[in-house]
Symmetry: C2
Subunit: 287 residues, 2 copies
DNA sequence: CCCTGTCATACCTGTTAGGTATCACCCAAG
DNA sequence: CTTGGGTGATACCTAACAGGTATGACAGGG
């Protein structure tokens, strides 16, 4: 039984995403004919039909669907191996840091917690160098999987901890962030339903897995943009309690009574065996 | 940045395991010079020194150690992708089963539970075909990782659930299995310390991660062998309660008061998205 | 009916994976 | 000190194959 090559996986995944050999070849920086041949050869070697072709297009068989999912995981693991190996190379260089960890954090979230964690860990005599890598919305999982990060702060129920080892750090409630002058801002508490359909004040929308959920609210790319839209009275947003750290004077935070609590975890790939990581996790759980 | 090829990974891992280019080349079925060159090229492409060479041998740098671990995970993911794709190929063949799941079970363990699970699941109108794959000691994790299995019954604290999704099924105590005629077999309960150092009756040893822990007891390969050695009065073993199912007349089971409870879980790769798997898990948790 | 867009085929070429022969080197035995 | 066995590296060759260009086959829409 022959081994699947990464190049073949990369080709197939691109074709499966585009469902179009020409565009896929373009994305791969190659001509279409060799790509067609490579996929045919892959199908022959696996003894499996991956794509149904029609003059009018291409779509995936069940087996193709499977290879798309599993192949993505395999490619992630491979690039992770390369990235982490490159990163580990500095460790035994004279004068360099003993070792180094990349910590992925959702940009703007858990600022205070992160600060305390870094301070506490720096006190550890044989602490590794920590590089903090701000990530987009819910991008931490992907960063751990493909090796851009070694460890991450994740926020249940927004992030999924499936496939990672993790330790629980803190739990917090959620708040609604309203324009300071809005009538609802006078309340001492609110319910989720109160803020879901405020006339003239639609709930802001965040990308989940790269796409925006449907709805009337504005599509948000970063926190500054959101803060401004709230201050201008154009939208309202729901955030964990720790978001109070970056509120403006034109904002008012009102606790939500029935929003699910947000649990912050420190998470890392399940197979990690790094001493530096173990030290960081120990520090985090003792905070 | 160029991509790591699976062939290179396979070569490096073999060399890292053998710490000897000649033997590694032999295991890979190739000559030594091209292997040396391939590793050199890998080091150049990664920009990293993976091996320290000496005329008297080869050993791993820190980066090499990292690539050995991460590369194994990546190779497992790749072979898993190939295996699962091949397996999924039958699904849309006319006349074949709608789909198929491979369930890894430690040989001889949880017999009754397994039976109930299979019966209950077979009642499901759109049940997949289940292939039961008996695994060696603690081999289920590896089988899930490299795609030989899709789902497994695991026994904490013997198996590690790290990196998998899982649901708890049952909890049971542990028993000591003694030769029927032994003085200790008359007791109604025992403590772990009572059976750890019985004069003339050493505790049987199981392979953990492919190697046997040190000790005076016999090295066990399969249950029949163990059962015979116990019946002959040569050894004693500690097992979960459900092991009573395969006891012989010459065996006596005595409950252990202070042994950690054994928790049986059903576990699967965290990224699985199979409907058949979801159905099986639902059935299992409702038992 | 032709034109456009799609994937497949035919054929060529440069790269490279892998084989054989040999070197350079260390160490141990004499 | 010398020599031989065992190690990984180098030199060189060949065959396989990845990738490019040109073109074919075929379905739908104007």
């Amino acid at each position: 039984m022959e081994m699947l090559e990464t190049r073949e996986l990369r080709y197939f995944i691109t074709v499966a995403e585009e469902l179009h050999f020409g565009r896929a070849a373009q994305r791969l920086g190659m001509a279409q004919p060799p790509l067609s041949r490579a996929i045919q050869q892959l199908e022959r070697r696996l003894g499996v039909c991956l794509l149904r072709r029609n003059r009018r297009g291409v779509w995936l068989t069940d087996a193709g669907e499977m290879l798309l999912h599993e192949g993505r995981a395999a490619l992630d693991a491979t690039t992770a191996a390369a990235r982490r190996t490159r990163r580990a190379a500095g460790a035994d260089r004279p004068g360099g840091p003993r070792s180094r960890l990349v910590l992925a954090v959702k940009a703007g979230a858990s600022h205070e917690l992160l600060h305390k964690l870094l301070d506490a860990y720096a006190a550890d005599p044989d602490a590794a160098e920590i590089e903090v890598l701000p990530s987009g919305t819910c991008e931490q999982e992907a960063m751990l999987r493909d090796g851009r990060a070694d460890v991450a702060l994740m926020h249940a129920p927004f992030n999924s901890l499936a496939g990672f080892d993790s330790e629980e750090l803190t739990t917090e409630g959620q708040i609604a962030i309203l324009p300071a002058g809005h009538p609802l801002a006078a309340h001492s508490t609110l319910a989720l339903d109160d803020v879901r359909d405020i006339p003239g004040l639609p709930l802001a929308r965040w990308p989940r897995n790269g796409t925006y959920p449907p709805g009337p609210g504005p599509e948000i790319h970063d926190l500054t943009q959101l803060a401004q839209l709230i201050a201008l009275g154009r939208t309202v947003a729901v955030f964990p309690d720790s978001a109070r750290a970056w509120l403006w004077a034109e904002h008012t935070a009102v606790p939500l009574t029935d929003a699910p609590p947000v649990v912050t975890h420190i998470a890392w790939p399940a197979h990690s065996r790094s001493l530096a990581l173990a030290g960081l996790v120990r520090t985090a759980t003792r905070l």
